[in-house]
């Protein structure tokens, strides 16, 4: 293989930059479980996520990254995050056509089989809303699922009975039963990464920056600017769950 000096320099520089990033992250990665992150104080944070519908291109990077990072079962009915594609016809705005082939993990086919042309089409990434008043934690008979001090809804898998009441109680369809452990499972906002100063896998891999992790207690977090300058909506506000996934550009037809 012929490698010119120019190519060599480019590849060499890339490798240098990327390995130093990896090296810098290494100490966080080897820190292990969250409780081994001594500098992390739950009282200092209040986690949320922002999703900019106008930026989402439905690439499915987030779904793939999530499945890999969190070892989510492969089957097409277990997702911690997934992407829905909405098509809204102007003649029937209340009844959108929605698809999410395998959770959008491989992206979406460019056209609809029945050739929809009129109307609008957009993508809606979904995940656990980490509700402040979450109905799922309310119903858990043993308190195995709970909200942390820093606003993340988690599950203690060593305590979960597998009664599935929380799955029924979630209005957003964010929970499933992991067939390997027979316990409830859902998005943790990559808590194991958050507590080490890293972003969730989905935010990190999003090619357009549509998904951003947000710490509402951090005054320097760009989320404050984002919330101030955008029209923000949450999913199913009538459920009054205190959902903390904030969408920009969310269409009224989304449910």
């Amino acid at each position: 293989m012929d490698t010119s000096r120019r190519d060599f320099l480019i590849i060499g520089t890339r490798m240098f930059v990327m390995t130093s990033v990896a090296a810098a992250a290494l100490e966080h990665v080897v820190a292990g479980a969250p409780e081994k992150a001594p500098s992390y104080n739950t009282a200092d944070h209040w986690w949320a996520m922002t999703i900019d519908i106008e930026k989402c291109v439905g690439s499915g990077h987030c779904v793939r990254a999530c499945k890999l990072e969190n070892n989510v079962p492969d089957e097409p009915y277990f997702f911690r995050t997934w992407v829905e594609r909405y098509h809204v016809d102007p003649l029937d705005m209340d009844h959108p056509t929605v698809d999410s082939p395998n959770g959008g993990i491989d992206g979406f086919p460019e056209t609809y089989p029945d050739g929809k042309t009129s109307g609008k089409t957009f993508f809606v990434p979904k995940l656990c809303n980490h509700c402040a008043d979450s109905p799922c934690t309310q119903v858990c008979p043993v308190g195995a699922t709970f909200r942390t001090n820093d606003g993340v809804v988690l599950i203690d898998k060593s305590y979960c009975l597998g009664c599935r009441y929380c799955v029924q109680a979630c209005p957003y369809g964010c929970r499933y039963i992991d067939p390997r452990t027979n316990t409830a499972d859902k998005c943790t906002l990559c808590y194991h990464r958050l507590t080490k100063g890293l972003q969730p896998a989905c935010c990190e891999t999003c090619p357009t920056g549509a998904r951003q992790i947000a710490d509402l207690k951090n005054p320097k977090d760009p989320v404050h600017e984002f919330l101030r300058t955008h029209q923000i909506q949450i999913l199913k506000p009538q459920m009054a769950t205190g959902a903390k996934v904030y969408y920009n550009g969310l269409d009224g037809s989304v449910r």
């Binding site: 008979p141 308190g143 009664c163 109680a169």
Partner: protein, 389 residues
């Protein structure tokens, strides 16, 4: 995706609660209903239903013992279920089940049965020898005083326990309704009517079950049915059914008239996936026909033999209808997407942990337990009856 019409959130495609969770409210309903029938005699002094009194108590006990089994079998980690007693989560309706259950079993049902049978237990212990004697003596818990004064106390305490028992039975089953009715995420379940509808359907199913058991057992023993008793039980079944029907219709009409955001999806479901179980089995076969049959026996003069057959048919159809109602609530509530944009299918397996076979076995088990109870604690009385068939 096979079995899916329209759009479901991906995690909704597989149903969470199976036929075992259908059995759970069905069985607890039978317990509550049987107990309410028993209390008619005890508290409200309806002497006509006396022949069913003890049978109703034993039926309630047999079904109550089985009630937690479908739940246990359904749990992903049954070995952790005891945590519900040790570390109950106070905001969870489900966490309270254990306590309501234990209260009902230990404080109400067992105490009432023991007080009612204490005299017979002492006499049985005195009349037998060997292991049998030891067994009955153990059941007396060492209390073998049969003086008129102590029997009078038995009766008095028994009545107090029954008075406590009625709200307890209401609580037992009303609470089961609340488990479903309090889920705001699910419009098929979320209604304050749910506990009360569950309660009245429970009373209906319990009365029907005891009525059938009474008729079948008396035929089998060849002792002849006390017609006055059968008529009275059927009359109460009819009244309870009317209230139950009115409540369910109120719920239905309210939903149709309000036609909120979920209506289109639910209406479509009732007309397709739930048509057989909801319209045909629950409403027509399981409610309309029995109410009609029972109603005819209330207004027309019909020969006892025919009347009994009508009661029998109405009873069987009632039990089918109430089972269909539980099915429609539990399974129906999971067939549509919470996005209201699609439907999934319930695939009932046969010989799996949550399949049809364990469900059938669990439904047969209470009858096995009842057979043992009937041998150990015979409920029969040999009082002369006026009008026997």
């Amino acid at each position: 995706m096979p079995g899916v019409q329209g759009f479901m959130y991906p995690n909704e495609i597989e149903l969470q609660w199976s036929i075992l969770i259908v059995l759970y409210p069905y069985i607890t309903g039978l317990v509550a209903g049987a107990f309410i029938l028993a209390s008619l005699e005890r508290v409200f002094n309806v002497q006509a239903v006396r022949p069913t009194y003890r049978l109703a108590l034993l039926t309630a006990l047999a079904f109550l013992l089985v009630a937690p089994l479908p739940l246990q079998l359904h749990l992903g980690h049954p070995e952790r279920s005891f945590e519900m007693y040790l570390t109950p989560h106070r905001t969870s309706a489900m966490a309270m089940f254990g306590f309501v259950y234990l209260w009902y079993l230990m404080v109400v049902l067992l105490v009432e049965i023991w007080l009612d049978y204490r005299k017979e237990l002492v006499l049985a212990a005195r009349a037998s020898t060997g292991v049998k004697r030891l067994f009955y003596r153990a059941l007396t818990l060492g209390s073998d005083n049969l003086s008129p004064e102590s029997l009078r106390i038995d009766d008095k305490v028994g009545r107090i326990v029954t008075v406590i028992g009625i709200p307890s039975a209401f609580m037992l089953h009303g609470y089961v309704g609340f488990i479903f009715g309090s889920i705001k995420a699910n419009p098929w379940w979320s209604t304050p009517m749910m506990p009360i509808v569950f309660l009245f359907s429970a009373i209906v199913s319990g009365i029907a079950m005891v009525m059938l058991l009474y008729m079948v057992l008396t035929w089998w023993r060849g002792t002849g049915i006390d017609m006055n008793c059968a008529d009275t039980v059927a009359k109460y079944l009819f009244y309870a059914f009317l209230v139950d029907f009115a409540l369910e219709m109120l719920d239905l009409i309210h939903r149709i008239y309000e036609a909120d955001e979920s209506f289109r999806a639910l209406d479509f479901m009732v007309h397709t996936k739930l048509f057989l179980s909801q319209i045909v089995l629950q409403l027509i076969v399981g409610t309309g026909v029995p109410i009609l049959l029972l109603g005819i026996t209330q207004v027309a003069r019909i020969a006892p033999r025919i009347r009994l057959r009508m009661y029998l048919t109405a009873g069987v159809l009632t039990l089918i209808g109430i089972f269909a109602m539980r099915w429609n609530v539990v399974i129906g509530g999971q067939l549509f997407s919470k996005s209201f944009l699609g439907y999934t299918t319930y695939k009932l397996a046969f010989a799996t942990r949550e399949g049809l076979l364990p469900a059938i076995l669990l439904m047969l088990l209470p009858f096995g337990i009842l057979a043992v109870l009937l041998r150990v604690l015979p409920p029969w009385e040999h009082a002369p009856a006026t009008d026997r068939l």
